[in-house]
Protein backbone atom coordinates (compact mmCIF):
# COMPACT_ATOMS: atom_id res chain seq x y z
CA UNK A 1 0.00 0.00 0.00
CA UNK A 2 1.50 3.33 -0.93
CA UNK A 3 0.56 6.85 -1.91
CA UNK A 4 0.02 5.83 -5.52
CA UNK A 5 -2.61 3.22 -4.68
CA UNK A 6 -4.30 5.58 -2.24
CA UNK A 7 -4.40 8.25 -4.93
CA UNK A 8 -5.84 5.87 -7.52
CA UNK A 9 -8.79 5.22 -5.19
CA UNK A 10 -8.86 8.48 -3.23
CA UNK A 11 -8.89 10.75 -6.26
CA UNK A 12 -12.08 9.26 -7.75
CA UNK A 13 -13.65 9.08 -4.27
CA UNK A 14 -13.04 12.79 -3.77
CA UNK A 15 -14.68 13.45 -7.12
CA UNK A 16 -17.71 11.34 -6.11
CA UNK A 17 -18.20 12.71 -2.61
CA UNK A 18 -21.12 14.96 -3.48
CA UNK A 19 -22.86 12.23 -5.45
CA UNK A 20 -22.35 9.83 -2.51
CA UNK A 21 -23.85 12.40 -0.13
CA UNK A 22 -26.94 13.10 -2.23
CA UNK A 23 -27.63 9.46 -3.07
CA UNK A 24 -27.29 8.51 0.61
CA UNK A 25 -29.53 11.36 1.71
CA UNK A 26 -32.12 10.68 -0.99
CA UNK A 27 -32.44 6.96 -0.33
CA UNK A 28 -32.40 7.40 3.46
CA UNK A 29 -35.15 10.03 3.15
CA UNK A 30 -37.19 7.77 0.87
CA UNK A 31 -36.96 4.92 3.39
CA UNK A 32 -37.73 7.13 6.41
CA UNK A 33 -40.70 8.86 4.75
CA UNK A 34 -42.16 5.56 3.57
CA UNK A 35 -41.87 3.90 6.97
CA UNK A 36 -43.35 7.03 8.60
CA UNK A 37 -46.72 6.01 7.13
CA UNK A 38 -46.42 2.45 8.47
CA UNK A 39 -48.50 3.18 11.61
CA UNK A 40 -51.51 3.87 9.33
CA UNK A 41 -51.10 0.46 7.65
CA UNK A 42 -50.14 -1.51 10.74
CA UNK A 43 -52.56 -4.35 11.38
CA UNK A 44 -55.02 -2.96 8.87
CA UNK A 45 -56.84 -5.91 7.42
CA UNK A 46 -58.85 -3.61 5.15
CA UNK A 47 -55.85 -2.78 2.97
CA UNK A 48 -54.82 -6.41 2.69
CA UNK A 49 -58.37 -7.32 1.72
CA UNK A 50 -58.46 -4.50 -0.84
CA UNK A 51 -55.23 -5.79 -2.36
CA UNK A 52 -56.65 -9.29 -2.38
CA UNK A 53 -59.39 -8.03 -4.70
CA UNK A 54 -56.75 -7.43 -7.38
CA UNK A 55 -55.83 -10.26 -9.76
CA UNK A 56 -53.25 -12.49 -8.06
CA UNK A 57 -50.77 -11.96 -10.93
CA UNK A 58 -50.87 -8.19 -10.44
CA UNK A 59 -50.46 -8.58 -6.68
CA UNK A 60 -47.40 -10.76 -7.23
CA UNK A 61 -45.96 -8.59 -10.02
CA UNK A 62 -46.04 -5.42 -7.93
CA UNK A 63 -45.24 -7.01 -4.58
CA UNK A 64 -48.57 -6.05 -3.05
CA UNK A 65 -49.22 -9.25 -1.11
CA UNK A 66 -49.67 -8.99 2.67
CA UNK A 67 -49.54 -5.19 2.59
CA UNK A 68 -50.66 -4.95 6.18
CA UNK A 69 -47.71 -6.95 7.52
CA UNK A 70 -44.24 -5.39 8.11
CA UNK A 71 -42.58 -7.60 5.48
CA UNK A 72 -45.37 -7.06 2.94
CA UNK A 73 -45.34 -3.31 3.56
CA UNK A 74 -41.57 -3.01 3.07
CA UNK A 75 -41.61 -5.26 0.03
CA UNK A 76 -44.49 -3.48 -1.70
CA UNK A 77 -43.31 0.04 -0.95
CA UNK A 78 -39.52 -0.21 -1.04
CA UNK A 79 -37.72 -3.43 -1.77
CA UNK A 80 -39.73 -5.12 -4.50
CA UNK A 81 -38.21 -2.76 -7.04
CA UNK A 82 -38.00 0.88 -5.94
CA UNK A 83 -34.91 0.84 -3.71
CA UNK A 84 -32.99 -1.89 -5.63
CA UNK A 85 -33.63 -0.07 -8.91
CA UNK A 86 -32.43 3.27 -7.53
CA UNK A 87 -29.39 1.64 -5.97
CA UNK A 88 -28.54 -0.09 -9.27
CA UNK A 89 -28.90 3.25 -11.07
CA UNK A 90 -26.55 4.83 -8.51
CA UNK A 91 -23.95 2.09 -9.10
CA UNK A 92 -24.14 2.46 -12.89
CA UNK A 93 -23.87 6.26 -12.61
CA UNK A 94 -20.93 6.06 -10.19
CA UNK A 95 -19.07 3.75 -12.58
CA UNK A 96 -19.99 5.68 -15.70
CA UNK A 97 -18.93 8.99 -14.19
CA UNK A 98 -15.51 7.68 -13.22
CA UNK A 99 -14.78 5.64 -16.34
CA UNK A 100 -16.49 6.31 -19.68
CA UNK A 101 -17.57 9.81 -18.59
CA UNK A 102 -14.01 10.77 -17.71
CA UNK A 103 -12.65 9.23 -20.88
CA UNK A 104 -15.16 10.90 -23.19
CA UNK A 105 -14.51 14.28 -21.57
CA UNK A 106 -10.77 13.84 -22.19
CA UNK A 107 -9.91 14.11 -18.48
CA UNK A 108 -8.63 10.52 -18.37
CA UNK A 109 -5.83 11.23 -20.86
CA UNK A 110 -3.49 13.08 -18.52
CA UNK A 111 -3.85 10.29 -15.91
CA UNK A 112 -3.23 7.53 -18.44
CA UNK A 113 -0.09 9.36 -19.58
CA UNK A 114 1.39 8.74 -16.12
CA UNK A 115 3.43 5.65 -15.26
CA UNK A 116 0.40 3.62 -14.23
CA UNK A 117 -1.24 0.79 -16.12
CA UNK A 118 -4.73 1.27 -17.46
CA UNK A 119 -5.78 -1.77 -15.45
CA UNK A 120 -4.65 -0.06 -12.23
CA UNK A 121 -6.43 3.17 -13.12
CA UNK A 122 -9.69 1.34 -13.87
CA UNK A 123 -9.41 -0.90 -10.81
CA UNK A 124 -8.82 2.16 -8.62
CA UNK A 125 -12.02 3.67 -9.97
CA UNK A 126 -13.92 0.40 -9.51
CA UNK A 127 -12.78 0.21 -5.87
CA UNK A 128 -13.86 3.84 -5.38
CA UNK A 129 -17.29 3.05 -6.88
CA UNK A 130 -17.60 -0.01 -4.61
CA UNK A 131 -16.76 2.12 -1.56
CA UNK A 132 -19.36 4.69 -2.69
CA UNK A 133 -21.96 1.94 -3.06
CA UNK A 134 -21.12 0.48 0.35
CA UNK A 135 -21.46 3.92 1.98
CA UNK A 136 -24.88 4.49 0.37
CA UNK A 137 -26.01 0.98 1.33
CA UNK A 138 -24.86 1.34 4.94
CA UNK A 139 -26.63 4.71 5.24
CA UNK A 140 -29.77 3.04 3.83
CA UNK A 141 -29.49 0.26 6.39
CA UNK A 142 -29.08 2.72 9.24
CA UNK A 143 -32.07 4.74 7.99
CA UNK A 144 -34.10 1.53 7.79
CA UNK A 145 -33.21 0.38 11.32
CA UNK A 146 -33.74 3.85 12.82
CA UNK A 147 -37.10 4.22 11.06
CA UNK A 148 -38.20 0.73 12.12
CA UNK A 149 -37.53 1.69 15.74
CA UNK A 150 -39.09 5.15 15.45
CA UNK A 151 -42.32 3.96 13.81
CA UNK A 152 -42.60 0.61 15.52
CA UNK A 153 -42.18 -1.52 12.42
CA UNK A 154 -41.28 -4.88 13.89
CA UNK A 155 -39.37 -7.12 11.56
CA UNK A 156 -36.49 -9.55 11.86
CA UNK A 157 -33.32 -7.46 11.59
CA UNK A 158 -31.45 -10.32 9.91
CA UNK A 159 -34.04 -10.40 7.15
CA UNK A 160 -33.80 -6.62 6.67
CA UNK A 161 -30.02 -6.84 6.64
CA UNK A 162 -30.02 -9.62 4.08
CA UNK A 163 -32.53 -7.76 1.84
CA UNK A 164 -30.40 -4.63 1.86
CA UNK A 165 -27.19 -6.58 1.26
CA UNK A 166 -28.88 -8.34 -1.68
CA UNK A 167 -29.98 -4.92 -3.00
CA UNK A 168 -26.37 -3.75 -2.72
CA UNK A 169 -25.08 -6.85 -4.51
CA UNK A 170 -27.69 -6.47 -7.26
CA UNK A 171 -26.49 -2.86 -7.68
CA UNK A 172 -22.86 -4.05 -7.73
CA UNK A 173 -23.77 -6.54 -10.45
CA UNK A 174 -25.18 -3.77 -12.66
CA UNK A 175 -22.21 -1.55 -11.77
CA UNK A 176 -19.86 -4.32 -12.91
CA UNK A 177 -21.81 -4.60 -16.16
CA UNK A 178 -21.11 -0.88 -16.60
CA UNK A 179 -17.41 -1.57 -15.87
CA UNK A 180 -17.34 -4.25 -18.56
CA UNK A 181 -18.97 -1.99 -21.14
CA UNK A 182 -16.75 0.97 -20.21
CA UNK A 183 -13.70 -1.29 -20.50
CA UNK A 184 -14.71 -2.49 -23.94
CA UNK A 185 -15.90 0.85 -25.29
CA UNK A 186 -15.56 4.10 -23.33
CA UNK A 187 -18.79 5.71 -24.47
CA UNK A 188 -21.05 7.03 -21.68
CA UNK A 189 -24.26 6.64 -23.70
CA UNK A 190 -23.48 2.97 -24.28
CA UNK A 191 -22.55 2.35 -20.63
CA UNK A 192 -25.76 4.00 -19.40
CA UNK A 193 -27.95 2.30 -21.98
CA UNK A 194 -26.63 -1.19 -21.22
CA UNK A 195 -26.24 -0.72 -17.44
CA UNK A 196 -29.64 0.86 -16.83
CA UNK A 197 -31.31 -1.11 -19.63
CA UNK A 198 -30.21 -4.39 -18.03
CA UNK A 199 -31.58 -3.26 -14.66
CA UNK A 200 -34.99 -2.47 -16.18
CA UNK A 201 -35.02 -5.63 -18.31
CA UNK A 202 -34.18 -7.81 -15.30
CA UNK A 203 -36.90 -6.12 -13.25
CA UNK A 204 -39.51 -6.66 -15.95
CA UNK A 205 -38.48 -10.29 -16.41
CA UNK A 206 -38.75 -10.88 -12.68
CA UNK A 207 -42.04 -9.04 -12.19
CA UNK A 208 -44.03 -9.65 -15.36
CA UNK A 209 -42.82 -12.96 -16.79
CA UNK A 210 -44.62 -14.93 -14.05
CA UNK A 211 -47.91 -13.55 -15.40
CA UNK A 212 -47.57 -15.87 -18.40
CA UNK A 213 -47.07 -19.57 -17.85
CA UNK A 214 -45.13 -19.82 -21.12
CA UNK A 215 -42.39 -17.35 -20.22
CA UNK A 216 -42.58 -17.68 -16.44
CA UNK A 217 -39.54 -20.03 -16.19
CA UNK A 218 -37.40 -17.39 -17.92
CA UNK A 219 -37.67 -15.17 -14.84
CA UNK A 220 -34.89 -17.27 -13.36
CA UNK A 221 -32.50 -15.68 -15.85
CA UNK A 222 -33.02 -12.35 -14.14
CA UNK A 223 -30.52 -11.24 -11.47
CA UNK A 224 -33.55 -9.80 -9.66
CA UNK A 225 -34.84 -13.35 -9.24
CA UNK A 226 -31.45 -14.50 -7.96
CA UNK A 227 -31.55 -11.70 -5.39
CA UNK A 228 -35.17 -11.63 -4.27
CA UNK A 229 -36.67 -14.91 -5.53
CA UNK A 230 -36.53 -16.36 -2.03
CA UNK A 231 -38.46 -13.45 -0.44
CA UNK A 232 -35.60 -12.39 1.85
CA UNK A 233 -37.81 -10.17 4.04
CA UNK A 234 -39.60 -13.26 5.29
CA UNK A 235 -37.19 -16.14 4.78
CA UNK A 236 -33.54 -16.86 5.42
CA UNK A 237 -31.54 -16.41 2.22
CA UNK A 238 -29.35 -19.22 0.94
CA UNK A 239 -25.68 -18.39 0.42
CA UNK A 240 -25.96 -19.31 -3.24
CA UNK A 241 -28.05 -16.21 -3.89
CA UNK A 242 -25.22 -13.96 -2.67
CA UNK A 243 -22.73 -15.95 -4.74
CA UNK A 244 -24.98 -15.83 -7.81
CA UNK A 245 -24.64 -12.05 -7.75
CA UNK A 246 -21.05 -11.76 -6.49
CA UNK A 247 -19.41 -14.19 -8.94
CA UNK A 248 -20.70 -12.55 -12.17
CA UNK A 249 -19.87 -9.18 -10.63
CA UNK A 250 -16.25 -10.22 -10.28
CA UNK A 251 -16.20 -11.78 -13.76
CA UNK A 252 -17.72 -8.69 -15.44
CA UNK A 253 -15.24 -6.43 -13.64
CA UNK A 254 -12.38 -8.64 -14.84
CA UNK A 255 -13.73 -8.41 -18.41
CA UNK A 256 -13.71 -4.61 -18.20
CA UNK A 257 -10.18 -4.48 -16.76
CA UNK A 258 -8.91 -6.93 -19.39
CA UNK A 259 -10.57 -5.04 -22.26
CA UNK A 260 -9.51 -1.52 -21.31
CA UNK A 261 -5.84 -2.39 -21.71
CA UNK A 262 -6.41 -3.64 -25.24
CA UNK A 263 -8.10 -0.79 -27.03
CA UNK A 264 -7.63 2.86 -27.96
CA UNK A 265 -8.39 5.55 -25.41
CA UNK A 266 -10.65 8.19 -26.91
CA UNK A 267 -9.46 11.77 -26.85
CA UNK A 268 -11.35 14.94 -25.97
Amino acid sequence: MNGRILELVGGPLRAMRRAIFWWSLGLAALIAMTIAVWPAFKGSSGISQAMDQLPSGVVQAFGLADFGTPAGFLRGNLYDFFVPLLLAAAAVLFVNGQTAGEEASGRMELYLAQPISREAVLLGRVVAAVIALVVVTVVMLLAQLASDAAFDLQINIRFVLSTIVLSGLLAAFHGSLAVAVAGIRGRPSLVLAIGLGAAFAGLIANSLFPLSAVIAPWRHLSPWDWAFGGNPLENATGLWRYAALAVPTIVLTAVGVFAVARRDISGA
Partner: protein, 300 residues
Protein backbone atom coordinates in the same frame (compact mmCIF):
# COMPACT_ATOMS: atom_id res chain seq x y z
CA UNK B 1 22.41 8.42 -35.05
CA UNK B 2 23.48 5.54 -32.77
CA UNK B 3 20.75 3.42 -31.23
CA UNK B 4 22.00 4.45 -27.80
CA UNK B 5 21.51 8.10 -28.72
CA UNK B 6 17.98 7.56 -29.94
CA UNK B 7 15.26 8.43 -27.46
CA UNK B 8 12.20 8.13 -29.71
CA UNK B 9 12.10 5.76 -32.69
CA UNK B 10 9.05 5.60 -34.92
CA UNK B 11 9.14 2.97 -37.63
CA UNK B 12 6.43 2.73 -40.30
CA UNK B 13 3.70 4.05 -38.02
CA UNK B 14 0.19 3.74 -39.45
CA UNK B 15 -2.99 4.61 -37.59
CA UNK B 16 -6.49 4.30 -39.01
CA UNK B 17 -9.75 5.26 -37.29
CA UNK B 18 -12.15 3.10 -39.25
CA UNK B 19 -11.82 4.37 -42.80
CA UNK B 20 -9.95 7.53 -41.77
CA UNK B 21 -6.20 7.25 -42.31
CA UNK B 22 -4.88 9.59 -39.62
CA UNK B 23 -1.23 8.53 -39.92
CA UNK B 24 -0.02 6.92 -43.14
CA UNK B 25 3.47 5.62 -42.51
CA UNK B 26 5.83 7.75 -40.44
CA UNK B 27 9.50 7.03 -39.81
CA UNK B 28 11.55 9.28 -37.57
CA UNK B 29 14.12 9.27 -34.81
CA UNK B 30 14.65 11.78 -32.03
CA UNK B 31 18.13 11.99 -30.53
CA UNK B 32 18.91 12.29 -26.85
CA UNK B 33 19.20 15.89 -25.67
CA UNK B 34 17.63 17.56 -28.70
CA UNK B 35 14.50 19.66 -29.03
CA UNK B 36 12.58 18.04 -31.84
CA UNK B 37 9.92 20.14 -33.54
CA UNK B 38 6.93 18.25 -34.90
CA UNK B 39 5.21 20.64 -37.26
CA UNK B 40 2.03 20.37 -39.22
CA UNK B 41 -1.33 21.98 -39.77
CA UNK B 42 -4.32 20.93 -37.67
CA UNK B 43 -5.47 17.43 -38.58
CA UNK B 44 -2.13 16.39 -40.03
CA UNK B 45 -1.68 13.51 -37.56
CA UNK B 46 0.59 15.13 -34.93
CA UNK B 47 -1.59 14.38 -31.93
CA UNK B 48 -2.38 10.87 -33.18
CA UNK B 49 1.35 10.14 -33.44
CA UNK B 50 1.95 11.49 -29.94
CA UNK B 51 -0.98 9.52 -28.52
CA UNK B 52 0.49 6.37 -30.08
CA UNK B 53 3.84 7.24 -28.46
CA UNK B 54 2.15 7.51 -25.05
CA UNK B 55 0.38 4.18 -25.51
CA UNK B 56 -3.07 5.83 -25.55
CA UNK B 57 -3.65 4.56 -29.10
CA UNK B 58 -2.62 1.23 -30.56
CA UNK B 59 -0.90 1.56 -33.92
CA UNK B 60 -2.64 -0.06 -36.89
CA UNK B 61 0.83 -0.96 -38.19
CA UNK B 62 4.44 -0.12 -37.46
CA UNK B 63 6.42 0.28 -34.27
CA UNK B 64 6.84 3.16 -31.90
CA UNK B 65 9.11 3.18 -28.90
CA UNK B 66 10.99 5.41 -26.51
CA UNK B 67 14.21 4.50 -24.66
CA UNK B 68 14.02 1.18 -26.52
CA UNK B 69 10.73 0.38 -24.78
CA UNK B 70 7.66 -0.51 -26.83
CA UNK B 71 4.86 2.02 -26.30
CA UNK B 72 2.15 -0.63 -26.11
CA UNK B 73 3.95 -3.44 -24.30
CA UNK B 74 6.20 -1.51 -21.91
CA UNK B 75 4.06 1.60 -21.56
CA UNK B 76 4.28 1.95 -17.78
CA UNK B 77 8.08 1.80 -17.68
CA UNK B 78 8.30 4.12 -20.69
CA UNK B 79 5.94 6.71 -19.19
CA UNK B 80 7.94 6.68 -15.96
CA UNK B 81 10.66 8.46 -17.93
CA UNK B 82 8.53 11.06 -19.72
CA UNK B 83 6.05 13.83 -19.02
CA UNK B 84 3.31 15.10 -21.31
CA UNK B 85 1.15 18.12 -22.05
CA UNK B 86 -1.91 17.15 -24.12
CA UNK B 87 -3.05 19.30 -27.01
CA UNK B 88 -6.72 19.11 -26.05
CA UNK B 89 -6.34 19.96 -22.40
CA UNK B 90 -9.03 18.69 -20.02
CA UNK B 91 -8.30 18.97 -16.30
CA UNK B 92 -10.38 17.87 -13.30
CA UNK B 93 -12.37 21.06 -12.71
CA UNK B 94 -13.14 20.60 -9.03
CA UNK B 95 -9.50 20.44 -7.96
CA UNK B 96 -7.16 23.34 -7.35
CA UNK B 97 -3.82 23.46 -9.13
CA UNK B 98 -2.17 22.60 -5.80
CA UNK B 99 -4.38 19.52 -5.33
CA UNK B 100 -3.73 18.36 -8.88
CA UNK B 101 0.05 18.76 -8.49
CA UNK B 102 -0.06 16.82 -5.20
CA UNK B 103 -2.21 14.11 -6.78
CA UNK B 104 0.28 13.70 -9.65
CA UNK B 105 3.09 13.75 -7.11
CA UNK B 106 1.53 10.71 -5.43
CA UNK B 107 1.00 8.97 -8.77
CA UNK B 108 4.53 9.54 -10.04
CA UNK B 109 6.61 9.80 -6.88
CA UNK B 110 9.65 12.08 -6.63
CA UNK B 111 7.50 15.13 -5.91
CA UNK B 112 9.33 18.31 -4.85
CA UNK B 113 7.05 21.01 -3.33
CA UNK B 114 9.80 23.63 -3.59
CA UNK B 115 10.12 23.05 -7.32
CA UNK B 116 6.33 23.24 -7.65
CA UNK B 117 6.28 26.63 -5.93
CA UNK B 118 9.18 27.93 -8.01
CA UNK B 119 7.49 26.88 -11.24
CA UNK B 120 4.19 28.42 -10.12
CA UNK B 121 5.94 31.69 -9.39
CA UNK B 122 7.77 31.60 -12.69
CA UNK B 123 4.56 30.93 -14.60
CA UNK B 124 2.68 33.49 -12.45
CA UNK B 125 0.16 30.86 -11.54
CA UNK B 126 -2.12 30.84 -8.50
CA UNK B 127 -2.25 27.19 -7.48
CA UNK B 128 -4.94 27.80 -4.86
CA UNK B 129 -7.69 28.54 -7.37
CA UNK B 130 -9.99 25.84 -8.63
CA UNK B 131 -9.16 24.75 -12.16
CA UNK B 132 -12.67 25.51 -13.39
CA UNK B 133 -12.14 29.15 -12.41
CA UNK B 134 -8.93 29.49 -14.43
CA UNK B 135 -8.66 30.98 -17.92
CA UNK B 136 -7.54 28.83 -20.85
CA UNK B 137 -4.02 30.25 -20.58
CA UNK B 138 -3.78 29.58 -16.85
CA UNK B 139 -5.04 26.03 -17.29
CA UNK B 140 -2.33 25.56 -19.91
CA UNK B 141 0.19 26.84 -17.35
CA UNK B 142 -0.99 24.18 -14.88
CA UNK B 143 -0.32 21.49 -17.50
CA UNK B 144 3.12 22.98 -18.22
CA UNK B 145 3.89 23.05 -14.49
CA UNK B 146 3.05 19.34 -14.29
CA UNK B 147 5.28 18.58 -17.28
CA UNK B 148 8.28 20.39 -15.82
CA UNK B 149 7.65 19.41 -12.19
CA UNK B 150 9.17 15.95 -12.45
CA UNK B 151 12.62 14.88 -13.62
CA UNK B 152 11.86 13.47 -17.05
CA UNK B 153 14.25 12.28 -19.72
CA UNK B 154 11.66 13.07 -22.39
CA UNK B 155 9.13 15.92 -22.34
CA UNK B 156 6.32 15.52 -24.86
CA UNK B 157 4.48 18.76 -25.59
CA UNK B 158 1.46 18.85 -27.89
CA UNK B 159 0.60 22.43 -28.89
CA UNK B 160 1.88 23.61 -25.48
CA UNK B 161 1.49 27.36 -25.95
CA UNK B 162 -2.17 27.43 -27.05
CA UNK B 163 -3.77 30.22 -25.06
CA UNK B 164 -0.53 31.57 -23.56
CA UNK B 165 0.24 35.27 -23.86
CA UNK B 166 3.49 36.26 -25.66
CA UNK B 167 5.33 36.85 -22.38
CA UNK B 168 4.50 33.36 -21.16
CA UNK B 169 5.35 31.88 -24.55
CA UNK B 170 8.82 33.37 -24.11
CA UNK B 171 9.06 31.97 -20.59
CA UNK B 172 7.98 28.59 -21.91
CA UNK B 173 10.72 28.62 -24.54
CA UNK B 174 13.25 29.46 -21.82
CA UNK B 175 12.01 26.48 -19.80
CA UNK B 176 12.43 24.23 -22.84
CA UNK B 177 16.01 25.42 -23.35
CA UNK B 178 16.80 24.89 -19.67
CA UNK B 179 15.36 21.37 -19.78
CA UNK B 180 17.52 20.58 -22.79
CA UNK B 181 20.57 22.03 -21.07
CA UNK B 182 19.83 19.73 -18.13
CA UNK B 183 19.91 16.74 -20.51
CA UNK B 184 16.23 16.26 -21.32
CA UNK B 185 14.91 15.54 -24.79
CA UNK B 186 11.92 17.61 -25.87
CA UNK B 187 9.34 16.49 -28.43
CA UNK B 188 7.52 19.69 -29.34
CA UNK B 189 4.44 19.49 -31.52
CA UNK B 190 3.11 22.72 -32.93
CA UNK B 191 1.42 24.30 -35.90
CA UNK B 192 3.38 27.48 -35.25
CA UNK B 193 6.50 27.69 -37.38
CA UNK B 194 7.88 30.62 -35.40
CA UNK B 195 7.55 28.78 -32.10
CA UNK B 196 9.31 25.70 -33.39
CA UNK B 197 12.11 27.55 -35.13
CA UNK B 198 12.88 29.46 -31.93
CA UNK B 199 13.12 26.30 -29.84
CA UNK B 200 13.93 23.29 -31.99
CA UNK B 201 17.19 21.81 -33.19
CA UNK B 202 15.56 19.56 -35.75
CA UNK B 203 12.12 19.60 -37.31
CA UNK B 204 9.84 17.11 -39.00
CA UNK B 205 6.93 18.39 -41.03
CA UNK B 206 3.77 16.39 -41.26
CA UNK B 207 0.93 16.75 -43.67
CA UNK B 208 -2.13 14.55 -44.14
CA UNK B 209 -0.56 11.80 -42.04
CA UNK B 210 2.77 11.71 -43.84
CA UNK B 211 6.16 13.27 -43.22
CA UNK B 212 6.95 15.70 -46.00
CA UNK B 213 10.28 16.99 -44.71
CA UNK B 214 12.83 16.46 -41.97
CA UNK B 215 15.93 18.42 -41.21
CA UNK B 216 17.54 21.07 -39.07
CA UNK B 217 15.70 24.33 -38.57
CA UNK B 218 18.34 26.13 -40.65
CA UNK B 219 17.90 23.70 -43.55
CA UNK B 220 14.16 24.00 -43.57
CA UNK B 221 14.12 27.75 -43.11
CA UNK B 222 16.35 28.02 -46.13
CA UNK B 223 13.66 26.28 -48.15
CA UNK B 224 10.67 28.04 -46.66
CA UNK B 225 8.88 30.87 -48.45
CA UNK B 226 8.29 34.26 -46.91
CA UNK B 227 5.97 36.98 -48.12
CA UNK B 228 7.78 40.29 -48.59
CA UNK B 229 6.20 43.73 -48.76
CA UNK B 230 8.33 46.89 -49.16
CA UNK B 231 7.15 50.53 -49.36
CA UNK B 232 9.69 52.76 -51.12
CA UNK B 233 9.98 56.54 -50.72
CA UNK B 234 11.15 56.66 -54.32
CA UNK B 235 10.55 54.65 -57.49
CA UNK B 236 11.38 51.00 -56.75
CA UNK B 237 14.34 49.41 -58.58
CA UNK B 238 11.95 47.07 -60.37
CA UNK B 239 14.40 45.29 -62.66
CA UNK B 240 16.91 44.58 -59.89
CA UNK B 241 14.16 43.35 -57.56
CA UNK B 242 12.77 40.97 -60.14
CA UNK B 243 16.26 39.65 -60.86
CA UNK B 244 16.94 38.70 -57.23
CA UNK B 245 17.39 34.95 -56.61
CA UNK B 246 14.38 33.17 -55.08
CA UNK B 247 11.90 35.93 -55.89
CA UNK B 248 8.49 34.47 -56.84
CA UNK B 249 5.59 36.49 -58.29
CA UNK B 250 7.18 39.95 -57.79
CA UNK B 251 4.66 42.78 -58.24
CA UNK B 252 5.43 46.52 -58.31
CA UNK B 253 2.44 48.75 -57.70
CA UNK B 254 3.47 52.41 -57.54
CA UNK B 255 5.89 52.61 -54.56
CA UNK B 256 4.83 49.25 -53.17
CA UNK B 257 6.66 46.03 -53.96
CA UNK B 258 5.33 42.56 -53.02
CA UNK B 259 6.75 39.13 -53.68
CA UNK B 260 7.23 35.71 -52.17
CA UNK B 261 10.83 34.90 -51.32
CA UNK B 262 12.21 31.40 -51.31
CA UNK B 263 15.70 31.13 -49.82
CA UNK B 264 17.96 33.67 -48.17
CA UNK B 265 16.73 37.22 -47.62
CA UNK B 266 20.31 38.59 -47.68
CA UNK B 267 20.43 39.61 -51.41
CA UNK B 268 17.20 41.60 -50.95
CA UNK B 269 18.55 43.36 -47.84
CA UNK B 270 21.77 44.23 -49.69
CA UNK B 271 19.77 45.80 -52.53
CA UNK B 272 17.44 47.69 -50.16
CA UNK B 273 20.45 49.13 -48.30
CA UNK B 274 20.98 51.40 -51.30
CA UNK B 275 17.34 52.55 -51.51
CA UNK B 276 15.06 54.91 -49.53
CA UNK B 277 12.74 52.45 -47.85
CA UNK B 278 9.73 53.76 -45.88
CA UNK B 279 8.79 50.47 -44.27
CA UNK B 280 9.11 46.76 -44.81
CA UNK B 281 7.13 43.72 -43.81
CA UNK B 282 8.43 40.17 -43.84
CA UNK B 283 5.45 38.00 -43.17
CA UNK B 284 5.84 34.42 -42.17
CA UNK B 285 3.43 32.47 -44.30
CA UNK B 286 1.28 29.80 -42.78
CA UNK B 287 2.93 26.47 -42.58
CA UNK B 288 1.24 24.91 -45.55
CA UNK B 289 2.19 27.82 -47.77
CA UNK B 290 5.69 28.04 -46.32
CA UNK B 291 6.52 24.48 -47.21
CA UNK B 292 4.47 24.16 -50.34
CA UNK B 293 7.49 23.21 -52.33
CA UNK B 294 8.16 20.32 -49.99
CA UNK B 295 4.86 18.68 -50.74
CA UNK B 296 4.90 16.28 -53.61
CA UNK B 297 2.66 17.81 -56.18
CA UNK B 298 0.85 20.10 -53.78
CA UNK B 299 -2.17 19.13 -51.68
CA UNK B 300 -2.62 15.38 -51.09
Amino acid sequence: MNTADTVVAIDGLVKHYGKVEAVRGIDLKVARGEVFGFLGPNGSGKSTTIRCLLGLLRPTAGRINAFGLDATRDGVEMRRRLTYVPGELRLPDRLTGMELATSFGHLRGGFDPTRRDQLAERLRLDLHRRLRDLSTGNRRKVALLLAFLFDAELIVLDEPTNGLDPLMQREFLAMVREARAAGATVFLSSHSLSEVQRAADRVAILRAGKLVAQGTVAELRGRARQRIEVWFEEDPPTAELQALPGMVDPVVDDHRFTATLSGSIQPLLSLLAHCHVGSMLVEEPDLEEAFLDLYDGGPA
